[in-house]
Symmetry: C2
Subunit: 149 residues, 2 copies
Amino acid sequence: MSYSIKEVADMMNVAPSTLRYYDSMGILPNVKKVNGRRIFEDKDFKWLRVLNCMKNINMPISKIKEYVELAKKGDSTLKERYNMILEQKKVIEKELKALQDCYKEFEYKEWYYETAIKAGTEKVVLNITSTLPTLEIDKIPKNERKDEK
Amino acid sequence: MSYSIKEVADMMNVAPSTLRYYDSMGILPNVKKVNGRRIFEDKDFKWLRVLNCMKNINMPISKIKEYVELAKKGDSTLKERYNMILEQKKVIEKELKALQDCYKEFEYKEWYYETAIKAGTEKVVLNITSTLPTLEIDKIPKNERKDEK
DNA sequence: TATTGACTTAAAGTTCACTTTAACTTGTAT
DNA sequence: ATACAAGTTAAAGTGAACTTTAAGTCAATA
């Protein structure tokens, strides 16, 4: 099977121009062209799946390109690519943790507003602080100082 | 306790100029100023924690500002703010799911490279496709067509 | 008293990731 | 045959989120 740029764009939820842009940046390697038109085939989808992941974790295009260039060089870069994957796995773990903490913060906010709406006013909940450790802000920094009041 | 802009910037892992920028965009409400200098107090950290969350889930500043403006208006906007929170919770759920799928994809990649490195070549794993449903790409679109080869 | 360092604003500059535009080609339908 | 839809490139434009710069203020220290 083969697919046009529009079809692939729809599948990936992006504009065709975005895919052209990706291609121009060199992160859509080996896409076949017939009469100057891009034709996406099954083999391309393997990479599109990975690309989609990399975009999801906000990997910059420059880094994605780095990976693509390594892959093009073949077996001699296996270890380098492996290390990139391990590094990115750590990034995802961090992001997952951050997102989960955010989720808890928002669950707290949900309760907060439910309580406030029932009471008709925020005042009843305003001085209850969420005890969720979303931010390192809870740690007091070294160069702490007294209130100058 | 009170903190300088530099101290808060360090706690939040951003540049002081970023906090000034946030302030100029109106998403650091009610920060005290002494002799023109920003002084962050305990009450500000409640909001900074939430702001940090909102940044984490890539909420645009314009939307964060919307929320701040609603909060400024007081109890009459409780329901609106509640709805915003519910909506954002859904966004987080989606993002979490996407990230978890990416994590699986990267776990597969980890195995892929471990196997390839052991064998000294990618060829042994190259035609094994991950079966993880990271992308809707696996669904064949309506306007599918035959290979023109 | 002079200097240093951390702050201030307003405005301009930068970066990234697209998106749009303009001029053109190609394949399909009438 | 002609029109139209969908593709193409190169280059310019956009928007968001900072970041840098320039010129200045203020408090503490030598």
